[in-house]
Amino acid sequence: MLSPMETEALMLSLRSSAAAVLWSLPLAVLAGWGLGRFRFPGHGVLNAVVHMPLVLPPVVLGYLLLVALGREGFIGAPLHALFGIRIAFTGTAVVIACAVVGFPLMVRAVRQSAEAIDPRYEQAARSLGASDLKVFLTVTLPLMAPGILAGITLAFARAVGEFGATITLAGNIPSRTQTLPLALYTVTQSPGGEDAAMRFCILSLALAGLALMASEAVSRRMQAEARA
């Protein structure tokens, strides 16, 4: 059975990662589709900005987020002054850190699937009287579905394992911001914490394995439906 600390860290990791993926999914789909299908001024700059979290050290990313979203930050200060909202060192900060590190992975997967779509499917749909919005919702989006699913899986897995940006932006507060990797880090810093650390490792491995199996099952089902 899981200890209260393990249960809390596990549930917080699952909740935060799921929320991060859900909140960033619409923007990631639009960004992946836009970058994959259109050339516009600033395309290269936008592409670089979107992919920046992949190459930046997570601690740097967390610090930059803290500079922006902390109580004195250029976003955090007005949010706190106007609405009393605090982001840094809260559960919301965990979600934001997870979303930012997972975002480029989702965009990349969506972009690749968008680039693989034969544009004549969309041309055929338009010539059948469909508006651009209807074409996007009924043709483009379903054809991008495998890429979107791959992106969700990758971003979720990355979010569950997120450490550097989370500890910098959200701290390591038990029950509030202490996710699985942070809890593992905490017990490794305690004398005699080897057994607890190993339990967290096994928990993380089991979670990663379950996520991969779920993704594989959904992917197989989609392929079977496509063949049916």
Binding site: D118, R120, Y121, Q123, A124, A125, R126, S127, L128, G129, A130, S131, D132, T138, V139, P142, L143, A145, A226, R227, A228
Partner: protein, 233 residues
């Protein structure tokens, strides 16, 4: 009447067309590779914007560079059928056929399905269909949307000879049954000869021009059904 005045630069070539053809029956569009058949197809369908010109179908202005009119493909009432059919792979044949169907026109849709012998395939996924079945379904999908003109871009070129003849026969029959004017693009003169009552020929050069023969050329006959001309019974 389909009126096309078009100036469009494509690499080192200038496509410079000025032609009028009757919007009736099946009109062939033929020319060597690179002559601009696909460009003309795309400009008519609204998938590509010409540099200059004016395109009208039965007085309905689709494109006019002088008055800056460039209708969205959805508003052109120009149907398209691509070489590979390109049915939406995530939808059943039934959903594909219903994609552009106007409301309350179920009888017309049923007639097209019947004419193209698709009744037994409605619940199948496109991946399960043969090449010929996919092409028939693509033609039905476009016809059911009731376009003013249907453009067929080499619709049988990927099919084997037997299937090609049967599909051409069905195209001829469904055109006669629905009355939808068609423009049939092909690089194969024998297909044009078997199906079309008039032909637009693109002449490739540094400046691509077109000629229209409104009456069949010597040797151009329109067999009924078309398959007879191809030795298909």
């Amino acid at each position: 009447m389909i009126e096309i005045r078009l100036r469009h630069r494509q690499g080192n070539f200038l496509i410079d067309l000025d032609l009028q053809v009757e919007a009736a029956g099946i009109t062939g569009l033929i020319g060597p590779s690179g002559a601009g058949k696909s460009t003309l197809f795309q400009c008519l369908a609204g998938h590509r914007k010409p540099a200059a010109g004016r395109i009208t179908i039965n007085g309905h202005v689709l494109f006019d560079s002088a008055s800056r009119i460039n209708l969205h493909p959805a508003d052109r009432r120009v149907g398209v059928v691509f070489q590979e059919g390109l049915l939406f792979p995530h939808m059943s044949v039934r959903r594909n056929l219903g994609y552009g169907a106007p409301k309350g026109r179920d009888r017309f849709a049923a007639e097209v399905v019947d004419a193209l012998d698709l009744g037994h395939l409605l619940d199948a996924r496109p991946q399960r269909l043969s090449g010929g079945e996919r092409q028939r379904a693509a033609i039905a999908r476009a016809l059911i949307a009731e376009p003013d003109v249907l453009l067929l871009d080499e619709p049988v070129s990927a099919l084997d000879p037997g299937l090609k003849a049967r599909t051409m026969d069905l195209i001829s029959r469904v055109q006669a049954r629905t009355g939808t004017p068609m423009i049939y693009i092909s690089h194969a003169p024998e297909e044009i000869r078997a199906l079309c009552s008039r032909v637009i020929t693109l002449h490739r050069g540094t400046r691509t021009t077109a000629t229209v023969e409104s009456a069949p050329r010597p040797g151009l006959t329109r067999p009924q059904p078309a398959a007879q001309g191809l030795g298909y019974a």
